[in-house]
């Protein structure tokens, strides 16, 4: 049985669709990554999982429990670490954890043992008895993670957990997360950082415009694409005409699958090729035409290429496209009760 089963989730805010038929299966004790640009619907999906938001239609099963019918049982099984950390500045970290433990009805002794244990694991000893208002972003995130883990949930849901974190906090969080999965906790983590998902997730889904567009293990997704990626620059700054000329020159070569002129990056060329020997063929061809090579970088396909293949744009372009459209005020209202 899957730990999370989402079926045909739909959710719209006014006439803006956030989720458009989202399907997702997360197995037990799995580190699952949800990758997508800002505005793809990740946060909406996680808020529905956390029972903070009801979908317009669709089904949500968590650990065999229907989240729409029995949200309280789901809340007991689930730890949710939101993106925007809401803390009480006046309380100390320990007091906040005590409050959280009481809201989950932990018996007093167990509550305090769990708190001490998590303070140790997340290296919070030095500052946990200071007021939360004095914490840095990394401290807040660690405190929030501890709060989400107090009742030892079977499923931990993390919304962009390491955005803007210092290296020490990120390392502490990553290590604890890996340990949790080893001990049988399922983790669903959303991120728009490829590196984060790649480093942590056993399985992943790429989500775009409110639906899943690719699903599998990070390795599997990359291998399915096949070929090597090459970025080629003739000069530091080429012009359009020259880029097109080179593109036409390289396209017919054997082993070159695809050539795209990247306008956004000074008319460099992005190629997909069959393997190492093709690079030599390309160099000889350019040489024969008297063209220089300012830079040539070759790499295995990355998750960004998976995203590019599925959507026709890079993750970064997608981010930039939505950056201007986001209405932060509107989003805040949506999350306000």
């Amino acid at each position: 049985m899957a730990l999370i089963e989402l079926r045909q989730l739909n959710k719209a805010y006014g006439d803006v669709s956030a989720l458009a038929g989202l399907d997702l299966d997360v197995p037990e004790a799995c580190f699952y990554g949800l990758l997508g640009p800002n505005g793809a619907g990740k946060t909406t999906a996680l808020r529905i999982l956390a029972t903070l938001l009801a979908p317009d239609s669709g089904q949500v099963q968590i650990d065999g429990v229907d989240a729409l019918k029995d949200p309280r049982s789901v809340r007991r099984r689930l730890g949710y670490v939101a993106q925007e950390v809401a803390i009480d500045k006046i309380l100390t970290g320990r007091e906040l954890l005590q409050l959280q433990g009481d809201l989950f009805h932990l018996p007093r002794r167990l509550r305090d043992e769990q708190i001490d244990d998590l303070i140790d694991r997340l290296a919070m000893n030095e500052w946990v008895d200071r007021r939360c208002g004095t914490y840095s972003g990394g401290m807040r995130r660690r405190l929030d993670l501890a709060a989400g883990l107090l009742h030892r949930p079977k499923l931990l849901v993390l919304d962009e957990p390491t955005v803007g974190l210092d290296i020490e906090s990120r390392a502490a969080i990553w290590e604890l997360l890996r340990e949790l999965v080893r001990d049988g906790t399922g983790i669903l983590l959303s991120s728009h950082y490829l590196e984060e998902v790649e480093a942590l997730a056993d399985r992943m889904a790429i989500i775009d415009a409110g639906r899943v567009i690719a699903e599998g293990t990070p390795e599997g997704l990359k291998q399915r694409l096949g070929g090597d990626r090459v970025t080629l620059r003739i000069r530091e700054f080429s012009d359009a005409a020259e880029a097109e000329r080179v593109s036409a020159l390289l396209q017919p070569l054997e082993g070159v699958q695809q050539v795209v002129v990247n306008r956004a990056q000074g008319f460099s060329l992005n190629l997909v090729i069959d393997g190492d020997p093709v690079v030599e063929t390309m160099r000889r061809c350019l040489d024969a035409e008297g063209l220089p090579v300012f830079a040539l970088a070759q790499s295995r396909p990355s998750l960004d290429d998976v995203y590019l293949q599925a959507t026709g744009r890079t993750l970064m372009d997608a981010e930039l496209a939505v950056a201007g459209q986001r209405d932060v005020k509107q989003e805040r209202r949506q999350s306000m009760r």
């Binding site: 099984r77 809401a86 409050l99 809201l103 989950f104 009805h105 932990l106 694991r121 949930p153 340990e179």
Partner: protein
């Protein structure tokens, strides 16, 4: 970092009975509000200071008013005491919605709502408990000062009547404020409503002057003002031997006894809680 496995999920199957869970979550939420207060006591202090200034300055303003002007021939300070006590409890309770509003705005409420609360009424209940304690403390501070100024102290049954009356008023106003905290879009709007409601309700009551001093339209206003129904029983409790069947308010629409005043407060409180219930249910599920 330790490498021992994290303990198995203890909370999955703990079901310790509704009452024990309810009291645990309500106590924890109330404790939070009191911790905040202990570390930021300025609202508590201001809530006592303001009515103290009223009592002293307003009392002094009319200190030389001709004797026998007020019903029962009491001094203005004595007359004013009941009004200021009620005003203290009223303005304290009017602020009940503010912490809830801030929790809504900053998203702390979401943290509470992802927890498997036995009943989300505990969020409301914690606010009611907190505000009740605060308002009563503030009122008692004013009563003590009034006594020190020589304005008297209600003995025995009188003190009980004062407390019951204040409790009823505090419940009603807390319900109103909590309702507003969920109905209004943000704390700016809530503070605006509190600001606008506060003083006019004081002036349009019998806190500062008896009905006999007012023009007819104002008499009507004051006789419909809930504050008046709290002020008159307390004034009676200060006056001496307690008789709740005595007429305390000669309103333009008829005479109201002490029991009548209390009944109005009970109905008002119950009505307001019934009124805000659907709103709270909608916002907290």
């Amino acid at each position: 970092m330790t490498s021992s496995p994290l303990k198995a999920a203890p909370s999955l199957d703990t079901d310790r009975g509704a009452l024990s869970e309810l009291s645990q979550e309500t106590f924890a939420l109330t404790r939070r509000l009191f911790l905040q207060l202990a570390r930021r006591p300025s609202t508590l202090v201001a809530g006592v200071l303001q009515p103290l200034i009223w009592l002293t300055l307003f009392g002094a303003l009319f200190a030389k008013a001709p004797e026998g002007l007020l019903p029962g021939g009491i001094s203005y300070g004595r007359f004013l005491g009941a009004g200021v006590i009620v005003f203290t409890a009223f303005s304290g309770a009017l602020n009940a919605g503010l912490p809830v509003m801030f929790d809504r705005e900053f998203g702390f409420l979401n943290r509470l709502l992802v927890a498997p609360l036995r009943s989300r009424s505990s969020i409301v209940l914690a606010s009611v408990l907190y505000i009740t304690v605060i308002s009563l403390l503030q009122s008692l501070a004013i009563m003590a000062t009034a006594a020190a100024l020589g304005y008297g102290w209600p003995g025995g049954a009188g003190l009980l009547l004062v407390l019951v009356t204040l409790l009823l008023l505090v419940f009603a106003v807390t319900a109103l404020s909590l309702g507003l905290a969920f109905a209004l879009p943000g704390h700016i709007e809530l503070i605006a409503v509190i600001f606008v409601a506060n003083l006019p309700l004081l002036f349009a009551s019998t806190a500062l002057a008896p009905l006999a001093f007012m023009p007819n339209w104002m008499e009507w206003l004051a006789s419909l003002n809930p504050l008046t129904f709290a002020i008159e029983p307390i004034r009676a409790a200060y006056r001496g031997p307690l008789d709740l069947s005595e007429v305390l308010l000669e309103a333009p629409y008829g005479d109201i006894t002490g029991f009548g005043c209390l009944a109005v407060l009970v109905v008002l409180t119950a009505g307001l809680f019934l009124l805000i219930r659907p709103l709270l249910n909608r916002k907290l599920t």
